[in-house]
């Protein structure tokens, strides 16, 4: 690296790498230079002229956002001339601004308000008429109020550069210039709402949030999105126990700037009137609400009796419950019920990958690696639809670091637009990979991101191919749902304990898998936690006692004998592990009266059965996980506790297990679906149904192959 450049800002001698922009150099030193249009990671605009500073020997004020530091440069950021320029700029900005702060959603968290408060003039000289343009609605969730807009072009850039969607542009000119959708009067986009979040003022507002509250009336709780497996941090704005909005106010998560439509808007399932708020007990073919005490006692009695006579019992766990809940749930099955009949909806073949990678160091990529790798190859996944954060990271990597991106997919994907896209029919990916061999071998490092179609033997073939390239290769096995990886890591598998150790280590035989449990006519009792297998399969044991813990009366819950109303991920504390193995913390936001967390349900049931499951508090369970689960040893608790992400290290020796690729069921969720849970988000459903609003992307597959009930949902309406 070149020698640092020496310069002076406000009399303080400093140094920075050559090419560092003045605005960033000052920020490093704790000197704030105001700006609207400068935004880290997006193209330079120099449009708002707020960051003008005085540079010695330069007659005109210079814009700090595009001026790189230079040797011997002497800069004043707070001289009378600079202060006067800022004041003048804000005065200009307010001329056509409606100053409707009292009714503006942004009031209280508006960058324009803050700037005027800090740098603006107390008095306005503007006495002319203001331009007015009526507010426009571009989609069910995006509204634009042109008079409030300061034209910083952040929205245009995040949509075009960041997402690669490019739904926004600029229309008209001069004082009449405004942001316009590139499709005339409406958006055809991912509906991610990044434009709204990034807007420094109240020009872009959200259909789900507008006019509902003042920002300071909410509590802002940073937690992890419960939808896909990418594990984005979302900040819930909670007022009186209800989620009013979710946004990306807290940019400390693995997702940085990013959130997709689900992270921002699909929180409304939480307050769906169909939420279960009392345990249900089947009596005479009908459900009747009962107290927790009665429900727990009924289940405990049934299970105790079953256990006493060694009746067949099984557990199907969830892809969305926390690590702590999954860990305790498998303990319940194995230690309390003495069975390893436990499984979950496997959305990818991670265990086979682990086994194949055995002995290789640094073979699993973290979320951060996706942004820094020199090259990446996506196999059989429409990343922008299924793993929007990873798609965003890859794109940002290509933009910022010129990473080479390859996509080997059955249909066109967004990566084609900036990388090398090659079509491969399902099952013929390796033929195409072979044609790319030379190019890939010429890279210095590579990450393979592969979808659920690559499973079993194909994973072994892929790793062999990776090994043959002669460069460092990392892998990401793409899974769906917020804690799929955690479900697998925590041993919701019939032959594997937490940390991928074989069940024989605790003297158990491998148990039944999902399909076996569902089809075995002799199964006597089944506990389904946060999963909806009966949406796609029927229960073979027609007389089995079925216990279901869920948020809603799903297809599975309808068949149950006892239903426990569970808390959603937004209502509890705990940790989840994302698709790249990064562990992050959930924080309790809203509350739904009558519900309990699955952790509490397991603990209460065990207590009712006079069994000891060890710790009951989330933190204590987490500490036990840190002590006992391979890959989770010594995870930095402080990092996770303070909202950071910590990478697990699950690769060890060979994994002793039976590879069962036929059990891998891809979910085929896109941006606007989220399994059974997604059916209860009015916002997501509204977007699917709203003509023109849903991104009519040829990449969105029209047929849902597997899924968990979305098909019926579409037909219902």
């Amino acid at each position: 690296m070149a020698d640092p450049v020496k310069f002076t800002i406000d009399g303080r001698p400093m140094q920075a790498a050559p090419g560092t922009l003045l605005i960033n150099a000052a920020k490093e030193a704790g000197i704030a230079i105001p700006s609207f249009c400068y935004y880290d990671g997006l193209a330079l605009q120099a449009a708002c002229r707020m960051c003008l500073v005085e540079v010695e020997k330069t007659p005109k004020l210079q814009v700090a956002c595009t001026t790189p530091v230079a040797e011997g440069m002497v800069v004043q950021t707070d001289s009378p001339q600079v202060r006067q320029a800022r004041k003048g700029m804000l005065e200009f900005l307010l001329t056509n601004h409606p100053l409707d702060c009292p009714v503006c959603d942004k009031g209280g968290e508006c960058e324009l308000q803050d700037m005027v408060f800090r740098y603006g003039a107390g008095e306005s000289r503007y006495v002319e008429s203001k331009l007015h343009v009526d507010e426009k609605q571009w989609s069910p969730i995006v509204f634009y109020d042109a008079p409030r807009c300061i034209l910083c072009y952040r929205c245009v850039r995040i949509c075009g550069e960041g997402l690669g969607v490019g739904a926004l542009g600029i229309g008209n000119r001069g004082a009449a210039a405004e942001i316009v959708p590139n499709r005339g009067d409406h958006l055809e986009c991912d509906e991610c709402g990044a434009c709204i979040d990034i807007c420094p003022v109240g020009a872009l507002t959200s259909g789900t949030y507008r006019y509902k509250t003042r920002p300071w009336e909410m509590e802002h709780i940073g937690t992890i999105c419960t939808h896909c497996s990418n594990g984005c941090k979302t900040t819930l704005g909670v007022r009186n126990g209800n989620i009013i909005r979710a946004n990306n106010r807290d940019r400390s998560g693995v997702n940085g700037e990013f959130l997709c439509v689900k992270g921002r808007y699909a929180f409304d399932f939480n307050e769906n009137p169909e939420r279960l708020t009392a345990p249900l007990l089947r009596a005479g073919g009908e459900f009747k609400p009962v107290s927790w005490a009665i429900a727990l006692a009924t289940v405990a009695k049934k299970l105790s009796e079953l256990k006493a006579r060694h009746g067949k019992f099984g557990v199907i766990g969830s892809n969305r419950t926390t690590n702590e809940e999954n860990y305790q749930l498998q303990k319940f099955a194995r230690l309390v019920m003495g069975t390893s009949n436990i499984d979950h909806h496997r959305t990818g073949d991670f265990a086979t990958l682990l086994d194949t990678l055995s002995g290789r160091a640094n073979a699993l990529a973290t979320t951060a690696d996706v942004y820094t790798t020199k090259a990446a190859l996506v196999i059989h996944s429409d990343l922008a639809q299924e793993h929007p954060l990873l798609a965003f990271q890859l794109r940002a990597n290509s933009r910022h670091h010129k990473a080479h991106v390859y996509a080997v997919t059955p249909g066109p994907v967004r990566e084609d637009n900036y990388g090398t896209g090659v079509r491969a029919d399902p099952g013929r990916e390796f033929e195409v990979l072979a044609t790319l061999r030379e190019k890939l071998a010429a890279e210095t490092e590579l990450i393979f991101l592969f979808g659920a179609a690559i499973k079993g033997a194909a994973i072994r073939q892929l790793v062999e191919f990776g090994d043959s390239l002669g460069i460092p290769v990392k892998y990401i096995c793409l899974l769906d749902y917020s804690n799929s990886r955690g479900a697998s890591d925590m041993g919701l598998l019939p032959d594997l304990l937490p940390g991928y150790r074989h069940v024989s280590e605790i003297g158990l035989d491998p148990g039944m898998d999902c399909d076996q449990m569902l089809s075995d006519p002799n199964l006597e009792a089944l506990w389904v936690v946060g999963s909806n297998p009966l949406a796609r399969q029927s229960l073979g044991a027609t007389n089995a006692f079925l216990v279901v813990s869920d948020l809603f009366l799903t297809e599975t819950a309808r068949r149950a004998d006892v239903v426990f109303p569970a808390m959603s991920a937004y209502e509890k504390n705990g940790t989840v592990t994302n698709v790249c193995g990064d562990v992050q913390k959930l924080s309790r936001g809203p509350k739904t009266m009558g519900t309990k967390s699955d952790l509490d349900i397991v603990a209460l049931l065990a207590r009712e059965m006079r069994a000891d499951l060890g710790p009951t508090k989330v933190d204590d369970v987490f500490q036990e996980i840190r002590r006992t689960v391979r890959g989770y040893e010594n995870l930095p608790f402080g990092v996770i506790e303070t909202g950071g992400a910590a990478a697990t290290a699950p690769v060890h020796g060979p994994v002793r297990f039976e590879s069962r690729p036929e059990l891998i069921r891809p979910t085929a969720n896109g941006l606007f679906t989220s399994g059974t849970l997604g059916r209860f988000s009015g916002m997501l459903n509204g977007l699917i149904e709203s003509p023109g609003a849903l991104y009519r992307d040829p990449h969105v597959r029209p047929v849902i192959e597997f899924g968990s009930g979305q098909l019926e949902m579409v037909q219902d309406k």
């Binding site: 330079l44 120099a46 449009a47 708002c48 002229r49 707020m50 003008l52 007659p59 005109k60 004020l61 595009t66 320029a85 003048g88 700029m89 005065e91 200009f92 900005l93 001329t95 056509n96 000289r125 503007y126 002319e128 008429s129 331009l131 300061i150 034209l151 542009g169 600029i170 008209n172 000119r173 001069g174 004082a175 009449a176 210039a177």
Partner: protein, 437 residues
């Protein structure tokens, strides 16, 4: 065709063929020393060509007056990228109407100038970006381009040199901003016509991310004669560092407004009194806008003994700009002129940056109110302060172009604004005919 009678005082160098019959045809051009310069240039190295241009002290005729030879020397010749020759024919500065005549009367001269530029940096492609409102000129220029292709002056292996050059016309869509070179490039590339960040300058990163020579129509049109007659000859026509002649566009209260080719450094008062036949109706001179509407106004006193070249006007804190002079007589309402001027810039501001977008509109509204008789004492200071809040702080020169004349009017004719307040309460005065475009 020409729109005014020529003057005996003119030095007809680049307008020498304007009055010939069929002046646009390649035959006329060839019969009058046409395409002689490119033959010479094809025998010269790039360094020699640039040196000759430097000797000629030709300066950019678009407004900024940057030395052309130096501009061409900035183009990297081993970038591995294609290079482009772009002609800025987006002539939009109020008061300026010379590029139009050059294309209308002698398009081959322009083509030859661009060819010499192309050969200098071994470019293979050129574009003439013609102002949207000049649609009728496209036909003329396209016909000339077709003729040049037919005769082997464009296309492959030009004059047996082994060098290829293609030339195209491209139209703007009616935005003044697209005359700013980087906005022109954006527009040429099919994007919204807003300016780019500089540096990098077009010489290094211009059209399609590639090195580009971008000059004004008149600049290119001045090149062939330099290579026919020599740089020193051209330099000798003007004053030191201001080589050659210039097409001066005179409008306003003179007896014979029009476009006249005069050597650089020609005295302002001789231009008005001798070339243009003096002030109309025997009125007294009040002021001159010397280089297109963005040039700060000069008072009659400042115009005495003033040579019209880049440096002399810069000394008066005004500019020679695009060579468009607007002559104003004693009856002119300066408030109305200021209003008309700012109306233009408010209409043309692209909206990219805050001070230009909001400043021009505010000034327009304020001056409108002031002009209609609703002004206050404080407005006069506010006008000056708003202009100074814009000056030097906008993204591109359009903001300056709006602020500079405004500052000029308010400082040099402040008393008129004050008088206006007293006299004109409630009066609504239409802008004088000449600037009521």
């Amino acid at each position: 065709m020409r729109y005014n009678e020529p003057s005996d005082l003119e030095v007809r160098v680049i307008s020498q063929r304007f009055d010939l019959p069929n002046s646009t045809s390649i035959d006329t051009y060839l019969a009058n020393e046409g395409y002689v310069a490119i033959r010479k240039a094809l025998g010269m190295t790039a360094e020699a060509i640039i040196e000759e241009l430097k000797v000629s002290s030709l300066r950019g005729r678009g407004g900024a007056g940057f030395p052309t030879g130096m501009k061409w020397s900035f183009v990297p010749r081993n970038s591995g990228k294609p290079t482009y020759i772009i002609c800025n024919s987006d002539e939009s500065e109020p008061g300026t109407c010379k590029d139009r005549l050059l294309m209308e009367n002698d398009p081959h001269q322009l083509i030859e100038g661009m060819l010499i530029a192309g050969w200098t940096i071994k470019s293979n492609k050129g574009y003439i970006f013609i102002r949207g409102e000049y649609r009728y000129l496209i036909e003329i220029v396209d016909r000339a381009i077709a003729e040049a292709y037919e005769r082997g002056y464009l296309g492959q292996n030009i004059l047996g040199s082994g060098w290829d050059f293609d030339l195209y016309t491209h139209t703007g869509a009616g935005a003044y901003e697209c005359g700013e070179e980087s906005a022109l490039l954006e527009s040429l590339e099919g994007k919204r016509g807003v300016p780019r960040l500089k540096p990098p300058f077009p010489a290094v990163v211009g059209a399609f991310q590639s090195p580009t020579i971008l000059n004004n129509t008149e600049t290119y049109s001045s090149v062939p004669v330099i290579f026919r007659n020599g740089g020193a000859w051209f330099a000798g026509l003007g004053t030191p560092k201001n080589g050659g002649t210039r097409l001066m566009c005179i409008s306003g209260h003179v007896n014979k407004p029009g476009v006249y080719e005069l050597p650089m450094g020609f005295p302002m008062m001789r231009l008005i009194n001798e070339v243009c036949g003096g002030m109309r109706n025997g009125k007294k001179l009040k002021a001159v806008i010397p280089g297109g509407s963005s040039a700060p106004v000069l008072t009659a006193a400042e115009c005495e003994n003033l040579p019209l070249d880049f440096d002399s006007l810069a000394k008066l804190k005004s500019m020679a700009g695009s060579g468009g002079l607007v002559v104003l007589d004693e009856d002119t309402d300066i408030v109305a002129v200021a209003l008309r001027t700012i109306k233009f810039y408010a209409h043309e501001s692209c909206g990219w940056c805050i001070p230009c977008r909001e400043g021009t509109t505010w000034l327009k509204k304020l001056l409108t109110r002031f002009h209609e008789g609703g002004g206050t004492e404080r407005d006069i200071d506010t006008i000056g302060e708003l202009a100074s809040n814009m000056l030097g702080r906008t993204f591109c020169a359009l903001g300056d172009a709006a602020a500079m004349p405004t500052t000029g009017f308010i400082t040099k004719f402040r008393s008129e604004f004050e008088e206006y307040l007293k006299k004109s309460q409630g009066r609504v005065q239409p802008a004088p005919e000449l600037i009521n475009v």
